[in-house]
Symmetry: D2
Subunit: 147 residues, 4 copies
């Protein structure tokens, strides 16, 4: 987490939207980093995000990747617009029953009508060991801001 980016206008803009997401507050997700074309979020393991075998729920990994990609895309549109997810596709690579997930979303191409992003979800265990957990590919469109 770099001071410049957490204090930047981009970070504030994304943070304002992020804090309005009831589901992200509910799951316990945190916004870590925002740069032009990039957004990083994190999620601690808890019963709130687990599946039947105790691991992070695929739905939680999907939601985390979705917002990492979506907020990366938001940095690429004018500030009077929001973005919405048209679709995403996610592959799950590994599952863990503790620790923390980090998702980094990146803009692949920011067209005027269509923005394409990818996200990588990585697990970090108590010792700091990192393991790739999921990769996502996503289509986003700019939409009018309604709040």
């Amino acid at each position: 987490m770099i001071a410049e980016t957490t204090n930047s206008e981009l970070f504030k803009r994304v943070k304002a939207s992020f804090m309005r997401q009831g589901m992200m507050q509910n799951l316990g997700a945190q916004l870590l980093r925002v740069e032009p074309g990039l957004c990083e979020v994190s999620l601690q393991h808890s019963d709130r995000v687990s599946q039947q075998q105790g691991g992070f729920h695929g739905g939680a990994m999907g939601a985390l990747a979705d917002i990492a990609g979506g907020y990366a895309a938001l940095t690429a549109v004018p500030s009077d617009l929001e973005v919405t997810t048209v679709e995403y596709k996610i592959n799950f690579l590994a599952s863990f029953g503790s620790g923390e997930l980090r998702a980094i979303g990146r803009v692949v191409k920011a067209g005027k009508r269509i923005i394409v992003t990818t996200a990588e979800v990585t697990h970090i265990d108590a010792s700091g060991k990192q393991t790739a957990c999921a990769v996502m590919q996503q289509t986003i469109v700019p939409v009018p801001k309604t709040y």
Copy 2:
């Protein structure tokens, strides 16, 4: 919700796994129906599942579709096995700031190694009006049951 299916062995088997999913309890999802090759789940709108504009979060629709497809697949594997999601792809069609979502997962093909499913997510408003909200396509594999 049909009595025969809620009392069936298939329903009980899926319910046992479903109730172990911390995230589904957290979001408030409910298991409605289980038949061979089919599973239906529901989710009421609340702040726990909302995005920044107040609508159902894409991550919530994704998680709901994921488990509908996953549990449809579970009905197609021997009872000593569980299933896990390899990947899914979801298109969002509409968003609503109230009411209820229903997701119906269906097995398209149950191979020995790979199971392919689809899911449809439909919104139901207070008057009972139904609107298509999302469509998903998913790849599942059988895995050993670890609990």
Copy 3:
């Protein structure tokens, strides 16, 4: 192949675009049916569309599904517009080393900016037996017609 649909304005419109696709001529694909929100195409097995084990190439199934979905979408936009594929996702279910493929594309939702379609690819053998071969989910946008 129904006379009404092959003679319809919709069929002629799609046929005009289809015949301009060098790749579809090259592969030997044929346009069978066009209705509002639906398009059916076929492809005979040949060395031109085979993979290393002799079966239909995944790329050929993908191309066939892509145009079935795309032309289904074309029926949902004004006649001065064309459509282009934003993305698609295809699952392969079976492969065959002879016979014919049929792909039926269907519009799931035709929004003003985004059209979502699905396609089913079915194999038909010499005896008429049908087997599901692939399912696709696709995102399409209307674009200006440039020819």
Copy 4:
């Protein structure tokens, strides 16, 4: 194209499979590079691979990305096995009516049962200028070699 890799055992193994693909010969695709976890292929523009507006057909880009990812995966399995594509998802970023496409497939994770890859398709014009054309995410499984 690097001499070491074109002469390597890996290159020969992939080349042997590639040359058996009737569709790749038909489209005019070429195998450029094979390294552990990576494969690069190319495709010249021609009427054999065009769509109705004259650009590279999405089906051709899809087929090229599919084999780039698939052959990257092949380098990660024992030499008595082949691989087959379970599914892929491709986003199209740009289209061109001349020049050459290059697709580079990369293994993201090579599990024993499931291999996940990505591919990037890039256009190169007559002056050497490169433009991103498509990104793909893919699921592969090892299968017995039948030839």
